[in-house]
């Protein structure tokens, strides 16, 4: 059923519904649904309707600019790009091992980023659906509604996010788009005053993060049939895990599992990513479709992000989050869950882990150290991989002997989840929309499914060049009259009429 919904047989004869733009996600995307006169669903697609072009305009620039420039890909998780690029360029400047201070400052920055991004997503973007219901009153279904109905929850959401931003500010120099990480290390440590400032709040932050896990757990318990079945899309999963198999957002090796949790590969050096991951271009979306090479385009797609990570690791190296992980695994009965709504639960477990890790780092004297930089034998290429809030993020650069970037390849978290998001909305469409008059509430079900993945659509469309581009002409009744597509190879094709 689901795969069939990717492309309808006679699109011209069908009615077209567009959710344009998908709300409460980062960036601009749209969903198109093709229906026949009996409201039977024939085609469902998540399209990305914006694109950037970083891979192209970084070429010819000096490499040391890249960690700062590339974070402009995104206003939501700039730190992830900043750090992934810095990790790649550590290799270029020959910094095989960072100083303890540099490593811990970068980790602190990154876990602050995870905390603020997860808080933003859960409290601002997702909680209105979860607390009020997917088809609840639209005028209330937003953060303002949450603030009125659940003032304490809303306030904590705001303060959790703010704390994460403060961690970023003291490590990167600014709350958004700082400069802290540089190839070979960092440009500043934390001052004793900054450390004291964060220590004053961190215990409360850990406590609130734990409460947030309990809140989402309760929601699952209240409506298990919905939470366990909504938009389920079984797939492989992939993430970095630390050397001991632990959850690690900053560094590790790649591990992939099949839908039943069986290991597909493990301990893969991320510098070999291109041997394991390839990307397919489809003419109707700016966002590519990555897949695991060994399993092919059709079966090789996979999920990344909180749900993948929490189930992919062997343990979480902080005590409170580890207790929550075990409970989550038990709830799922020992087999991996593929329910998109479980992303929220996993995300809150990760937020708790981030808070606990920040607490531990704040107690570590290395963060006020002065030894910041390393360098060594120059290399002409570097690959940096990190677990960004939304999943695995891959940065790959080549640098010439004059220090200019000659090649840049980025695979961002949201792109890995492209197929999974499409599958989830096809699942939801066939379950909830089939044969019914469409209402805003029903269409919001589609958006709820997308929101689970916390996609960052601006990040996902960074490639410039022969972008596949779809133009659709729709008549007054919303009928698709004509479509013109530029394929990935630059050729044009008429898709309808």
């Amino acid at each position: 059923m689901r795969h069939q919904l990717e492309t309808a047989e006679n699109p011209a004869s069908l009615r077209r519904i567009a959710i344009d733009t998908v709300s409460r996600v980062e960036g601009h995307g749209k969903v198109t649904i093709l229906l026949d006169e009996r409201n039977q669903v024939h085609q469902v697609r998540l399209h990305i309707v914006e694109f950037r072009g970083f891979e192209r305009f970084i070429q010819g620039r000096p490499y040391w600019e890249v960690p700062v420039t590339v974070q402009r890909l995104c206003g939501i998780c700039p730190v992830s790009h900043h750090l992934a690029a810095s990790k790649a360029l550590d290799q270029v400047v020959g910094a095989t091992q960072l100083t303890p201070t540099a490593l811990k400052i970068r980790r602190l920055m990154h876990y602050g980023q995870i905390l603020q991004s997860h808080a933003l997503h859960f409290f601002y973007l997702a909680s209105p659906d979860l607390l009020f219901g997917f088809d609840s009153d639209l005028s209330r279904r937003n953060i303002v509604g949450i603030a009125a109905a659940e003032p304490q929850t809303a306030k904590r959401g705001v303060l959790l996010r703010k704390f994460g931003q403060e961690v970023i500010r003291v490590t990167a120099g600014k709350r958004v788009h700082g400069t802290g990480a540089i190839p070979g290390g960092v440009n500043k440590a934390v001052t004793p005053e900054e450390r004291a400032l964060l220590l004053a709040d961190i215990y409360r932050i850990v406590g609130w993060s734990r409460d947030a896990v309990h809140l989402i757990k309760q929601l699952h318990a209240q409506n298990p049939s919905l939470y366990n079945s909504f938009g389920v899309c079984r797939s492989n999963t992939m993430s970095l895990v630390g050397t001991g198999g632990e959850l690690d957002f900053y560094h590790g090796s790649l591990r992939a599992r099949d839908a039943n949790g069986g290991i597909l590969f493990d301990g893969v050096d991320y510098c070999d990513y291109s041997q394991h991951i390839q990307e397919e271009v489809k003419p109707w979306s700016y966002m590519k479709f990555p897949f695991l090479v060994a399993f092919g385009k059709r079966n090789g797609w996979y999920k990344v992000g909180p749900l993948a990570r929490v189930q992919n690791c062997d343990h979480i190296p902080t005590p409170l989050a580890e207790i929550e992980r075990r409970e989550f695994v038990d709830y799922c009965g020992g087999l991996p869950t593929h329910a998109p709504l479980a992303y929220h639960w996993a995300r809150m477990i990760e937020m708790l882990h981030a808070a606990e890790t920040i607490k531990d780092l704040l107690h570590d004297d290395d963060i006020v150290g002065q030894d910041l930089l390393r360098s060594g034998v120059r290399a002409t290429a570097g690959i940096g991989v990190i677990e960004a809030p939304r999943g695995t993020l891959i940065h790959h650069y080549r640098v010439d002997e004059d220090d200019l970037v000659t090649m840049c390849n980025l695979i961002v978290s949201t792109t890995h989840n492209n197929q999974a998001m499409n599958e989830a909305i096809r699942q939801v469409a066939s379950r909830y929309l089939q044969g019914r008059e469409l209402t805003e509430g029903l269409l919001n079900h589609i958006e709820v499914a997308i929101r689970c993945f916390d996609p960052c659509l601006s990040c996902a469309t960074h490639a410039l060049g022969q972008m596949p581009l779809a133009l659709e002409l729709v008549d007054a009744e919303g009928r698709l009259v004509h479509a013109l597509a530029r394929n990935g190879d630059g050729s044009f094709a008429c898709a309808a009429d």
């Binding site: 620039r61 420039t69 120099g173 600014k174 788009h177 440009n187």
Partner: protein, 238 residues
Amino acid sequence: MSASFTIDGKAVPFAEGQTIIQAALAAGVYIPHLCHHPEFKPHGSCKLCTVRISGRQSASCTTLAQAGMAVESDTPALNDERRTLTQMLFVEGNHFCPSCEKSGNCKLQATAYDLGMMTAHFDHFFPSRPVDASHPDVLLDFNRCILCSLCVRASRDVDGKNAFALSGRGIKTHLIVNAKSGRLADTDVTLQDKAVRVCPVGVFLRKDRGFNVPIGRRVFDLKPVSAYVDATAALAKE
């Protein structure tokens, strides 16, 4: 008692042969400027230092101070014009401050902030100006050149190398490297040269620098350009 004149009503002493801006900066009175540098002969190209003397406008870096003259400088009308000139400088080149390592240490950026420039206002030219990365220690990013000629003057008058020149006319004026190949690697410029350290914007970049100075410790993080009066000394330490 030495001779004096006034700037916005404030008495400013001067010595024979001093320009208005030299006397002003020495007396702690800030006049916006980009192509003026205390160690070099005036060039008078940016016009940011324009002041009003008895109803006539003139560049304070090329006008000699005279006893008793009444100079207007910090007036809304003059600052409006200075802001417009600054906006024109921004659109003529490619000034992408967010990813420029000179951000916070750049006189153009600091002057724009100080003049309250909020947008570039004009259409951007988006000129195509490839960088010259050929030199092992210094990278030239021509995108940011404001044609102040300070590097030209420094290389010629201090370093004795004459490695740079302004070429072309009018809107086509651009900075060139005096070498047959046009590449910096084929000159005898070194990191120690005055020319490498005098650029008020971010054309000359030391390759060993990057973003090593954290936000908060850059020259203009500490105070605005006008509060330095003459930021030359602070920038020279960077």
